[in-house]
């Protein structure tokens, strides 16, 4: 573990207070999501807002709870951009139909 020793200090970065703060933000965003669920929005708008809020929550979980913020930047570069690229590819493989997701349901009212 000699090569790892220099990193172990980094793993302990972040105090309990910081983690509790992140937790409170995550719980608050969850509350906002539940309230949004009761607003009668067009499904595609609703799904877009909910997914964006979830991406924000995922960022907080990865950054703080999963310690990514305290790791070497190269680990982030090796893991996150390729994953996002692959998710984009899932969408791109269904072009042009993947764009239809933006119009699906909008003509069908509040269902």
């Amino acid at each position: 573990m000699s090569g790892h020793g220099s990193e172990s200090g980094g793993h302990q970065a972040g105090s309990t207070g910081l983690f509790v703060t992140v937790w409170v933000v995550l719980a608050a965003v969850t509350g906002i999501e539940v309230l949004l669920g009761y607003m009668q929005l067009v499904p595609v708008t609703m799904l877009t807002i909910l997914v964006l809020l979830s991406v924000f929550k995922a960022g907080l979980i990865i950054g703080y709870f999963m310690h990514m913020k305290f790791e070497r930047f190269s680990l982030f570069l090796a893991l996150i951009p390729p994953t996002l690229f692959c998710i984009m590819m899932i969408c791109i493989f269904f072009f042009p139909d993947s764009l239809r997701i933006l119009t699906l349901g909008t003509a069908q009212g509040l269902k």
């Binding site: 719980a27 709870f65 893991l79 899932i90």
Partner: protein, 210 residues
């Protein structure tokens, strides 16, 4: 590629050895698993989104009580388990084995609570006629996507609970290190992360309207 010794490379960030990218091999292995699992859930949730938006008659079976109250509670329980996990990892890095085991058990208890609540939620749906293959609205895709996605997530939580109990046992017997706790923590936080997508996309998108 050049030869590497068993020891960590002196300064080469990309040279592999025991700490590629400044990370232990176990941890990198877990991260790679998480990446692959992310793609699995991404594909599932993307397909679900498409079906959900394309179908104007998508069932909306979730009443405020019990479904939304219960699923919100489940979300908070899972979030709480992430906090206890973080505290467990911190305790492991302090070499405080007793506290580590305590926090790991608390995390596993939260996970078990989540699974039990989720099971009761499923049973309620079964009684209302929502099964994986049929429902009163006649949209079997709802059952397929709902039970498929939440079932796969529940499987992850259940495996996670067993994993945490395994690690807690190992820590109490002095067989595992802080690194093992941290790796199990990565898995657990990922399970929490997936639910942060499943809950709004599946439950909140199908709230029963008055």
């Amino acid at each position: 590629m050049h030869e590497t010794t068993k020891e960590a490379p002196a300064g080469g960030l990309w040279s592999g050895g025991v700490a590629p990218l400044g990370t232990s091999s176990k941890k990198l292995g877990m991260w790679l698993f998480i990446v692959s699992d992310t793609l699995t859930f991404s594909a599932i949730l993307l397909a679900y989104s498409y079906l959900r938006l394309a179908n104007p008659d998508w069932p909306r079976p979730f009443d405020f009580y019990p479904a939304i109250i219960k699923s919100t509670g489940m979300t908070l329980v899972l979030l709480m388990s992430s906090l206890t996990m973080v505290l467990g990892v911190a305790a492991a890095h302090r070499n405080d084995r007793k506290a580590t085991v305590k926090w790991l058990l608390a995390t596993a208890a939260c996970g078990a609570t989540f699974v039990i609540l989720h099971m009761t939620e499923w049973v309620t749906l079964f009684h209302e006629g929502y099964t994986p293959w049929s429902n009163p609205e006649g949209v079997p895709l709802f059952g397929a996507t709902f039970f498929g996605t939440t079932g796969l997530h529940m499987l992850h939580v259940s495996i996670g609970v067993l994993y945490l109990l395994f690690i807690a046992t190992g820590i109490s017997r002095n067989k595992f290190t802080a690194d093992d706790v941290e790796v199990s923590g990565l898995y657990w936080h990922f399970v929490d992360l997936v639910w942060m997508f499943v809950f709004p996309m599946i439950y909140l998108m199908s709230i029963k309207l008055r």
